[in-house]
Every structure is written in C-alpha cells, then in structure tokens.
C-alpha cells in the first residue's frame, strides 16, 4: 500500500511530504525522507519490545500491560516527589495527560528541552522572539545564517525544504539569489557550502554577537581587530550583508545553547536580530531536535503557564529552571520515582543522575530497548507516533501538524497507556 503526504516523526522539521510503501506490516520503501527519517520509518517495526518487561532479580521477565500499568501507577502513587520526564517524541495528547497526571500527583514534569533549548527559552523570556513560520523563510529569505549547528547532518532536509535549496516565491533563482553564512567552531558538512564560514573560537559566540551588534549600530570603531578568532574585516562584511539583505533568517542549534554563555548567547542573538529589524526584516528560529519537543513546550505552556520544568509539589505550577529541571532534581537525589516517556536520558544525562535513576523505581514507556532500559524496573512498549500511532506534533516554528498512523502492529499508543495509568491514579487520588 502506498501512503502519501505522510509525516516524518524524527526531527523538528516534521517533513509532511513522505511517500511510504507498506507490504503487510512492513515498510518496504520510504520516498522523500532523509536518511534519518527513512531509517526510523524502515526500522521501527523491527526492534520493538514485544511486551512489557519487569525486573526479576538481576534479570527481566515478561509482564502483561495490566500488570505493568498497575505497577507504574503504584510507583507514582507511592512517591513523595515523582518526576515525569521525556515527552519530546510523543504526541501532544500524551503530553497533556502527563501534565494532568503530574498535577494530580504533585510531581514534577519536564521535557528534554531542559537539556537542549532550555536556554533559548530563558532568553526568549527576557527579550522575546522575532520569528516566523518556515514558509516565510523559504519564500522570502535572501540571507540565511546557521549558527552553531549542522543541519546537513541533524536536520538533513532543512535546507532543501525551507532554505538554501528551496524555491522561493519572491526569489527568481532562489539558489543563486540566496546567501548562506555558517558560524561554527569547526568545519562541518554545512560549512563547506557556505558563502561565508565564520570560524569562532569555542566559547566566543557571545563576543561575536556583541561585535556584530555594535557594527550594525554603526559602532564598528569599538570592535577590536579580531573577536574570538574572527577578523574585524569579516565581521564588518557580515554586518553589511545582514543589513543589505531583504529578509534574513538566523537559525541556531544546541552548539550555541550549550556553549559557554548559554542563554546569554541566545539573548545576544535575539537582540542582534531585533536590531537588524530596524533596517530590514530578520527572523530567528531555534533548530529543535526531537520532532515534538516544541510541542511539549506548547502543551505545558497552555496547561501550566510554563514551557518545561514544572513542579506541582505546592499544588500550584511552579517553575524555576536549574531547580525544577530533571537533571537538577536527579543530581540532588530528590525524586523517589521516575516515569520516563519517549526519551533516552540513559544516553545523555550525567552519571550521578543515572545512578539515582537506577536506585529509585523508574518506569520507561518506549517502543524499543534503549540505553535507559537497564536503569529501569519496568518498561512498557507502545506504538510509535507517526507509524502505528497518530497525534499532534508542533514543528520547530510552532506549526501544529497531525502526525498520521499508517499501520497497526497491535501496540497501544503512549496516550492510551498514560491514560490508563492516570485512570488508576485518579481512582486513588481523586476525592
């Protein structure tokens, strides 16, 4: 069977033009997706965990969904300070249930945002966000900057769908008429096609933004001959390019959010874009990794007022990144149970956090065996959103897309499993 206009559930580009061919319960061909997307779609039906598993001494035993769900609910009900973490690769509907569950439990809910674009959000909360949908960039941008990211490898179709290689309504020959600037600490696949490659010394982004802001404001005189390894000559040239562009678009990745300076870097980037808007049109967009990490921020926000790291232990929604973020809570050994949904902290979190995760009852909801599995006491496999489950996801620019299901492998969705856990919790917790 051929399924058209399908949505790729991998990265924040949320490409929606995939053609997927299935034979029975097997994906045999994926057209239009990049290798990352193709790999996920082709492989996902294979390495699934067959059923829930639970610790059995040093090993594992199979369990039924009823048993695993009851266990998960019990663990969360018993906890004084449960942590509900992950949420970036699941549907918005599951995220919403997660928030309500955290609220009822008096727990903490956090998404992978806190270890990727959390600093971008902190900067936005200070100075705002001049942004746009990706189609605006595609149709208008004659200058694109990728800063501290490598879309060729992390968002492989970003350039062909939205920037460098995309047709633009207002550009006669989009490829020729568009300029590309890449700023990074090292050469990458993306830098090799740039019109300007700006090589910044690690940790120097803040200074480079500040120098560009000065130049754009007409104060090149205060800029020294080199800034973080970049010559003044190149900075002035780039400042001019930015001002002369009709529509500029700045994209940045975790190379900026997680570099020294963290949220201050982003704040400076936003203020540069803001400054440029006094001369011409500029926008800025964080390149979000997981396909629905931005969705978790949206859902958390309309339900609680805050985009991530929400602590309900006081019955109200409390937000203080650095205190209520998952890594901090784990590092302080504060939580006494953890539910992890659709993410793999085992592969990303500091060792001290993982040690604590292994000590407390941790339940993982994930279709596959991951690096986090060995740290858990119970894992519940679910359907993969965009393959055998459907639901809402928000693209990196905030456009909500309905991710579609095209096969049924018999697994319940995250929404279903979390819904069932929540039901059991409500039986005990609700008046």
């Amino acid at each position: 069977m051929i399924h058209r206009d399908m949505i790729c559930p991998f990265c924040g580009c949320l490409c929606d033009d995939l053609v997927i061919t299935t034979e029975g319960n097997e994906v045999v061909q994926v057209d239009n997706a990049c290798t990352l997307g193709t790999h996920k779609l082709m492989g996902a039906w294979k390495n699934r965990l067959k059923n829930p598993i639970m610790r059995n001494g040093g090993g594992w035993r199979d369990a039924s969904y009823e048993e695993a769900i009851e266990y998960a609910a019990g663990v969360l009900l018993d906890a004084d300070r449960p942590l509900l973490y992950g949420w970036s690769s699941t549907q918005g509907e599951a995220q919403g249930l997660g928030v309500s569950m955290a609220e009822l439990l008096g727990g903490v809910i956090d998404s992978t945002t806190s270890v990727c674009h959390g600093p971008s959000i902190l900067a936005i909360q200070e100075v705002g966000h001049p942004g746009c949908t990706l189609g605006q960039v595609k149709n208008r941008a004659d200058l694109v900057i990728y800063w501290a990211c490598n879309p060729t490898e992390a968002h492989p179709r970003h350039m062909s769908r939205y920037t460098t290689y995309a047709d633009g309504f207002f550009l006669e020959n989009a490829f020729r008429d568009r300029k590309l600037i890449v700023v990074d600490v090292r050469k990458s696949e993306t830098t090799s096609i740039a019109d300007e490659f700006v090589k910044v010394k690690p940790g120097g982004d803040y200074a480079v933004f500040a120098a560009l802001r000065a130049i754009v404001r007409g104060r090149a005189d205060v800029v020294p001959d080199t800034v973080a390894g970049v010559t003044k000559e190149q900075l002035v040239r780039i400042g001019e390019m930015c001002k002369e562009a009709k529509f500029g678009a700045l994209f940045f990745g975790v190379g900026l959010t997680m570099a020294p300076g963290k949220y201050k870097n982003i704040r400076n980037a936003i203020e540069l874009v803001d400054e440029l808007n006094r001369y011409t049109k500029w926008t800025l967009t964080p390149l979000r990794g997981h396909y629905n990490v931005h969705g978790s921020n949206e859902v958390f926000t309309w339900m609680t007022g805050y985009p991530y790291a929400v602590d309900f232990s006081r019955q109200i929604a409390f937000y203080n990144p650095g205190e209520t973020t998952a890594v901090d809570i784990l590092a302080r050994k504060e939580c006494d149970a953890c539910l992890i949904v659709a993410s793999d902290p085992g592969a990303h979190f500091p060792k001290a956090c993982l040690e604590h995760l292994a000590k407390i009852p941790t339940v993982l909801i994930d279709p596959m065996h991951t690096v986090t599995t060995p740290l858990c006491r119970c894992q519940i496999p679910t359907a993969v959103n965009g393959i055998d489950a459907g639901g809402t996801a928000y693209r990196m620019d905030g456009v909500p897309i309905h991710v579609k299901k095209f096969m049924d492998l018999g697994y319940p969705s995250d929404t279903e499993v979390i819904g069932r856990i929540f039901e059991q919790i409500k039986e005990v917790k609700h008046p």
Binding site: D5, I124, H129, I316
Partner: protein
C-alpha cells in the same frame, strides 16, 4: 440531563424585550422550556439580576500567539497562581492566563460564549487544541485573511467569486467561524518589514489596496451567507491622527444585510486618535462615534484600555514592532506564510502617562457617544486594552458619571484638554449593559438563531445570576456594588448545568466549538482548482492535504452550514 428551575429571577433579556420582570426560568436538556416538573433542581434567584450568559465577541484566549504570550512571560504567570482544588485545575497568569484560568475566570463572571478574535489558518489546529481545554464556554474562532495570497490574487484578477470560494473552503478546512481582517495588506507588507499607511496604499507585489481587500471580503462574506459580518481591525492602529483613516474605512461599508451589521470594527478605541504626533495626541471619539451613529450597518467594539499591566497581542505585526520601540520591554513576532502575521509585547498602561490617560478616556467616550448600544460592544480586546477581569469596572464606569469623575481626577492632569469625557453626562442603564455584554454581541455574531444571547423558549440555557439587587442599587452612586456584583455570579449556568457558584467552579465541563461550513457549488470548490492546488503545494511549507483540521480536534461541535450564493 436533569431539569433545572431558576425561581424568582429579576430578568433582563433585551432580545425578548424583557426589562426587569420577576420570572421563573425552566430548563430541560440544556434548553429553556415552558416549565419543568417537581423533580427539578431549584435555584432561588430572588433578588438577583439574571441575564443570558455573557458573550465576548472579541477576545484572545487560545492559539499560537496567546500561548506565546504565556511562553515568553513567566512573570505574568506568577501573578495569578491558584492551587488545584476539586474539579478545578491549578491555574497561572494574569494578563495571559492558562486556558483553564481563562475559562474559570470568565465563568465566574457569567460568560458562557467566547470568540477568539484571530486564528491563523495554518495554525488553526493549535487553537482547537486549546479550545478543547476550555471547559466552561462555547467557543469560535475568527479566521485571518488579511494577507491571504489566494484572496489578494483573486482581487487583483477582479474575481470576487474566487475570493469567496477561497474564504469558504478555508473556513470549513480550519473549522473557523468568521472572517477576520487585521491591518489588511499591512501584515503581508510586514513580510519584508514594511507596512501600509491607510486604505489606499498598494500592498507590495500584490498591487491591491486595503480598501479593495475590505470591500471584497465584505462581499464575499455576504455571498457565503456567513452568520457574522467581516470583523475588521483597521489599518494604522495606534497612531496619532488615525481617526481619519478609520472614518474613511467605515464610510466604505455598504449596507448589505437586514439581520445584522455589514462590518464589525474592532477595538475602535485604538483607531480614534487625533493629533499629528504624541505631543498633539488627542481624542477623536466624537467624529468616529458620529460616523457609527449615521451608519447602522456598522457595529464596533470599544477596546477599552484600563490602567495596569497587560500583554498586547495582535496579528498586526508591524504595529507591535512600533509599539515595542516605544516601550522597550520585549518583543515577539510571528509571521505566518501566505496568510498573516502577529506580534506580542507586554505593556503597562499608567495613569501618570498622558497618552495612556487619553486612551482610557477614548474607549469610554465611544461607548457613551454611540447612541445605540446594539452598535457598541463592551470589550477590552482582551488582553490588549486590559485583561477581561476588568469588565465589571468598565460596566461601572459606564453606569456612573460620579465614578468616571472620581477616576478622572487620578489620571494625567493634562487629559482634560484632550478629551470630551468629563462633559459626557450619559449613564448607561442595566438594559444597555445587558445589550453590550450579551444580547448585542449575540446579534452581531449572528448566533441568536442557535439560541445564544437570550432566554426565550428554546434558547440554550446559558444563564448568569448576579448578586445584584437592581431595585436596591443606584449605580450612579453605588458603583462599587456594581463592580462587585458583576465580578462574581451567584450562579453561572452553562447549557442547563450550574458550572460555578459564588466563585467556586463546580464541574469540569465540555464546551462546544461553533464553526461555519459554507455550502459552495462543486464547480466552485477551490480545493479542486489546479491553479490553487499548485500555489498551495508549491509555496506553503505543508501539503494541502495536511492543512485541514481533522474532526477529531473538535470535541463537541456545532457546524453551522450556510447556503452560499456561489
């Protein structure tokens, strides 16, 4: 559903010409009926002003920019936190509260139907997701067409029916309610950092004028037989001297519909400015109100400004950037490809500030100078002029000259020479307030036929019972009692079910989403038009098939089908 009887209510129901009768209201299955039997639940409303549920015909409560207003403002969230209790979720926020907070606070004030003023079609799914988390009101969304490429091309080609076909298809695809135009043409120009000044400038590239967009959309609206008229945010918002542009725009509007207005001009306060700069800034509410008085085909809403902190948000991207350059706090912008844009900034309206004081006066002047209350709706363009929780104060200001004078004494001392407010003696009565907060809003939205805005037999049983002894209160002097009374109902009844009592939320309800589905002849179905499909798939960043909002996003919904004339 169980029966309900509201006894001994002091009823004002302007649509049914009831003005202060003591009555019983019987409810069965969510509708008002002649009577109910013995077993009915009884609410004793003796001594309580009882009105149809409040309707806000222009508010911003759900969707991409509202949520971004929250996202960028943790300081606002900290202002309104309340703990979870019973069926009530925890809530946060003051000027852009969480969805639950909006719903609870509106319910406590007796509001049962809300119109989200601006939904970008491409992002409609988001609005609907938040709608389904708005438990206590029926909701609908006006849909933005101000910078729609397909529409502007149709206008350039002089093809009115094509423009109407695009609007009709889009409304049904995104489950929208009516047509919203925000700074028509200006949001497209903002795509390249430009704006239009008034209605005669040409929109770059598309070579059409705002006047042409407005006229074509008014005619399209009538061709599609939409219940509501075009909902217009005029060009040139917030600039000194813009009243001339506003009057020129209002004078464009033909009288095309017997049942309702042909144009709903929104937050007219922001469009009634005289002077040539901020130094000479003054009120021009009088000529604007005169124009409205002479043109029954126009309804306006006030867009009242109240002092204090709030967050401004509008699809008018260039305006928000200009405002940001005055306020220097923080600025978010979000342009939406092929359609529209938006901007958000926090603001603080201060009594000590002359411009802010004049703005505050203009809104009140408009409401007092427009003679017919059916032509002027009470709004703040929540949260732009102020959060909706300020409505009770606005009601009291309109009902009491004494209160206005007391407030006037606290604003910037130079305000008196710039406004006419102190000279206005009019004090609105209870009936006029009922018109401006529910009956008139229902009529302007075209939803009286589905039982909104009145308490006649067959109407939806959306009822607000206020602890206000009308015979006992002199609103012109006892304005604090008016404020307190309208701030919190004794009972709010939604579809026959009491949802709040004395400020306590009683149920986790389920709203209805009201949307419009114009029935267009198949040969006029634009989604089968190759040129349109080609334009769509080439320039949007989503495929056309992924654009419409699936039915599953609407929990309970009421589809209003219209017989389009195309």
């Amino acid at each position: 559903m169980s029966d309900l009887l509201i006894k001994n209510a002091f009823v004002i129901d302007p649509i049914n010409r009831i003005n202060g009768e003591i009555m019983d209201i019987a409810v069965r299955d969510g509708r008002i009926v002649e009577d109910v039997g013995q077993g009915a639940e009884v609410i004793d409303a003796a001594g309580c002003l009882t009105l149809p549920g409040g309707i806000d015909s222009h508010t911003h409560i759900c969707g991409t920019k509202v949520n971004f207003g929250r996202y960028m403002s943790p300081e606002d969230m900290r202002a309104g936190r309340e703990a979870r209790r019973g069926v009530k979720h925890s809530i946060s926020g003051y000027s852009v509260p969480t969805t639950y907070a909006n719903s609870y606070r509106y319910a406590i004030m007796g509001y049962t139907t809300l119109l989200e003023g601006a939904m970008a079609p491409l992002e409609a799914r988001h609005t609907h997701e938040e709608f389904s988390a708005t438990p206590l009101q029926d909701v609908m969304a006006n849909t933005l067409f101000d910078g729609n490429w397909g529409v502007m091309e149709a206008i350039r080609d002089g093809d009115l029916e094509r423009a109407a076909a695009i609007v009709g298809w889009t409304l049904s695809a995104v489950k929208g309610f009516g047509i919203k135009l925000t700074n028509p043409g200006g949001t497209e120009a903002w795509g390249y950092g430009k704006d239009v000044t008034c209605i005669r400038d040409k929109v770059p590239y598309f070579e059409v004028t705002p006047a042409e967009i407005i006229e074509t959309m008014i005619r399209s609206c009538e061709l599609l037989r939409l219940p509501h008229s075009v909902h217009l945010h005029c060009n040139n918002l917030g600039k000194p001297g813009n009243y001339a542009c506003t009057i020129e725009t209002l004078n464009l509007v033909p009288d095309l519909n017997e049942k309702r207005q042909t144009l709903y001009a929104t937050h007219v306060q922001f469009h009634s400015y005289g002077g040539s700069d901020w130094k000479t800034f003054c009120s021009k509410a009088e000529p604007v109100a005169d124009t409205v008085n002479n043109r029954p085909q126009i309804v306006i809403d006030m867009g009242q400004v109240m002092f204090g902190k709030t967050t401004t948000m509008t699809a008018d991207g260039p305006m928000e950037f200009n405002l940001y350059r005055l306020h220097h706090d923080k600025w978010s912008n979000h342009d939406v490809e092929l359609e529209t844009g938006s901007g958000i900034i926090p603001v603080l309206y201060r009594r000590k500030n002359l411009v802010n004081s004049i703005m505050w006066a203009i809104g009140l002047e408009l409401a007092l100078l427009v003679k017919n209350p059916w032509q002027c709706m009470l709004t703040t363009d929540n949260p732009n002029g102020a959060p909706f929780v300020k409505y009770p104060e606005i009601i009291a200001l309109l009902m009491s000259k004494k209160y206005r004078d007391a407030e006037f004494a606290t604003v910037h001392p130079d305000t008196g020479s710039k406004v006419v407010l102190p000279a206005l003696e009019r004090e609105l009565d209870w009936n006029e307030i009922a018109v401006m907060t529910r009956a008139g809003q229902a009529k302007a939205l075209g939803i009286t036929g589905i039982g909104k805005g009145h308490l006649g037999i067959g109407a939806e049983a959306d009822i607000a019972v206020y602890p206000l002894k009308v015979d006992d209160i002199d609103p012109s002097t006892e304005y604090q009692r008016v404020i307190d009374g309208f701030a919190q109902t004794k009972w709010t009844v939604k579809r026959g079910r009491p949802v709040s009592r004395d400020g306590e939320i009683l149920v986790h309800g389920e709203n209805t989403t009201i949307w419009v589905d114009p029935k267009i002849r198949p040969e006029r179905d634009i989604s089968r038009n190759p040129r349109f499909v080609e334009m769509f798939n080439h320039w949007y960043s989503v495929r056309m098939s992924n654009y419409p909002v699936q039915d599953e996003y609407l929990k309970r919904n009421l589809r209003m089908e219209t017989e389009a004339a195309i």
